[in-house]
């Protein structure tokens, strides 16, 4: 198992290096002189020259990339053009808010999606099943940004039950962003749980359990669900990528002080060092979560465990 984890981490390195090329490219492909962007149009020529030299902007692209990468691996993405503070500090100040939201949304998605999928699968082609299917399709088709606005309209403006934006001040502030961000994951997990449950319920060992006269409850939860959940773990990992994407929009709608909003604000302000840092953090988070789900998958599935141990 450890060997497997170790191998997966080693395999991640070239991928993340590839991502750094993309992230470096963001700055490099952007028209305009980064030195002017950082110091402003009216900066004296001498200062511009000095900054260009310091950042290596007068060097060929691969040298610039090397210099940038050398700093990036030390978590130095330079200073934010907007605030002048180190990008790393800007990001670490925002990271908890994003993690919190993504984690809550994931928990919500599992808590709703798995039972709903089981409910659907144990009553196939009934009204319950059809309702869950329609709801899941709707959840997948609903854009995050629209859903967020509709929730604000309904629960904050019309009913006045919950605050429309902000983060600190109590649990009420978490409800709408979490639902907004979690909906598409709920839908995806419901669909996947239903599909794998249906497949598991038709397996021989389930028939054996039935013929032994075990109560249906124990068949569903003890025998079928445990096996059906294994592929669902993968979907949860994949959904995390969707969640990171959704976080960018959700944070913008709810004025949530996370990395997503930081990224969008920085793109608008042409604050490229911060954009680079934020994108890199997203890639690392995504990689870590995928690594985690793969390991969990291998752990849960005994067939894989023997192969890699």
């Amino acid at each position: 198992m450890l060997k497997y984890i170790f191998r997966r981490i080693i395999l991640l390195i070239p991928i993340l290096l590839g991502v750094t090329v993309i992230v470096f490219g963001i700055m490099f492909m952007t028209p305009g002189d980064p030195a002017i962007l950082m110091l402003g149009e009216n900066a004296p020529q001498a200062e511009l020259e000095a900054l260009r030299e310091r950042l290596g902007l007068d060097q060929p692209a691969y040298v610039q990339y090397g210099l940038w990468l050398g700093r990036a691996v030390q978590l130095d993405f330079g200073r934010s053009i907007r605030s002048g503070r180190p990008v790393t500090r800007e990001i670490s100040a925002r990271l908890p808010a994003t993690l919190e939201l993504a984690l809550l949304a994931t928990l919500l998605a599992i808590a709703v999606g798995v039972p709903l999928g089981v409910l659907s699968a144990t009553r196939p082609n009934t009204a319950v099943d059809h309702a869950a299917t329609v709801a899941a399709f709707g959840g997948l088709a609903m854009p995050v940004f629209w859903q967020g606005l509709i929730l604000i309209l309904l629960f904050a403006l019309v009913l006045g039950w919950l605050p429309p934006s902000g983060r600190l001040g109590g649990w009420q502030y978490y409800v709408l962003p979490t639902i907004t961000l979690g909906t598409s994951a709920i839908a995806a997990i419901t669909r996947m749980t239903r599909a794998t449950m249906l497949e598991t319920l038709s397996q021989d060992y389930v028939r054996t359990a039935r013929s032994k006269g075990l109560p249906e409850r124990s068949i569903v939860y003890r025998h079928a669900l445990r096996n059906a959940l294994i592929p669902v773990v993968t979907v949860i990992g994949l959904q995390f990528g969707q969640l990171l994407s959704g976080a960018v929009i959700t944070e913008t709608i709810f004025s949530w002080p996370g990395i997503g909003r930081l990224a969008v604000d920085s793109i608008r302000a042409k604050d490229f060092p911060t954009v680079q840092g934020a994108v890199m953090v997203f890639a690392v988070m995504y990689a870590v979560v995928n690594l985690f789900t793969d390991v969990l998958y291998a752990y849960l599935d005994p067939r894989l465990k023997t192969r890699y141990s």
């Binding site: 991928i15 090329v21 997948l140 609903m142 995050v144 309209l153 793109i267 994108v279 997203f282």
Partner: protein
């Protein structure tokens, strides 16, 4: 994943007729019918919209739905329905162009990777893995950040973000097809690579790719609308669903219709595309045909 992706391939010859597919799958029929209506509205937008999409009427600002303005007006007194109809044109255009880019680039990458194998395959697979290291929307966001906010750049960015999916699906489809006897036969008969690829491999690898096109269209339209919503895509006064929502956000308290209906348009379009694509996948799935 790869195993399920290749499933659609095996039976592309002698596939069932369209009429039998339509009869057996209500999802394809319903999704397809809705898509036809949306496409019709997009093509004839100028003829069927009650007002020009950008015509302002400051005396009729933020009007609720009425006989005159069926879906109300926005903060400039523009007719919401007319803007939604024209927005559909923009969204479909963005979707098709983005998916076109992804299909062209990703398809060729996947085809070459599967056909030539070895270093071509490893290079393509590495590039695809790197692109997949960022969730699609964030990759598109990063590319728009580099290119600058505009509708054209959103098409390019979303197109690039969908390349990996097409590269993977084409690769696995082609891998299945090149094992077939008729490809070996063509090789033995001395056909050239180009001819084998275009005459035998491509036509027989199409069905999973077609399914992916419909499903990606839905995703591309959502992504593009999301980027426009963030102010990074279509710029005012262009009538585009995402940017309409963004502009109407500030008036949500006074004019909820300007927020509600563009969203409904997105949901209906994406739902129809997903239903159509899902139905198509099931219809082309050899396991379900028997």
């Amino acid at each position: 994943m790869a195993a399920t992706e290749t499933q659609g391939v095996r039976r592309s010859r002698g596939a069932r007729s369209w009429s039998s597919i339509l009869r057996s799958s209500p999802r394809i029929a319903i999704g397809g019918a809705v898509l036809l209506v949306i496409a019709f509205a997009a093509v004839f937008a100028d003829a069927i919209s009650p007002y020009p999409p950008n015509q302002q009427n400051l005396r009729a600002r933020l009007q609720p739905p009425s006989a005159e303005h069926i879906l109300g007006t926005d903060h400039f007194g523009r007719d919401v329905l007319s803007r939604i109809i024209h927005g559909g044109r923009v969204s479909l255009q963005v979707g098709f162009i983005a998916v076109g880019i992804a299909l062209a680039v990703g398809g060729v990458m996947g085809l070459l990777a599967a056909f030539y194998g070895r270093w071509v395959d490893s290079t393509v697979s590495f590039v695809v893995d790197v692109m997949l290291a960022l969730p699609g929307f964030l990759l598109a966001l990063a590319i728009v950040a580099a290119l600058g906010p505009s509708l054209v750049n959103v098409m390019i960015a979303v197109g690039i973000a969908y390349i990996p999916q097409f590269a993977r699906i084409t690769r696995s489809a082609v891998l299945t097809v090149i094992e077939m006897d008729y490809v070996t036969a063509a090789r033995a008969a001395g056909s050239r690579d180009n001819r084998i690829m275009l005459r035998h491999v491509v036509p027989n690898s199409l069905s999973p790719v077609i399914v992916q096109v419909t499903l990606s269209l839905a995703g591309a339209i959502l992504s593009a609308a999301g980027l426009s919503f963030l102010g990074l895509g279509a710029q005012p006064p262009t009538a585009e669903w995402g940017s309409m929502l963004n502009a109407a956000r500030g008036y949500i308290r006074d004019a909820h219709w300007a927020v509600t209906y563009p969203g409904v348009a997105i949901v209906i379009t994406v739902l129809a595309l997903n239903m159509f694509g899902d139905g198509l996948r099931d219809a082309l799935d050899p396991r379900r045909i028997d």
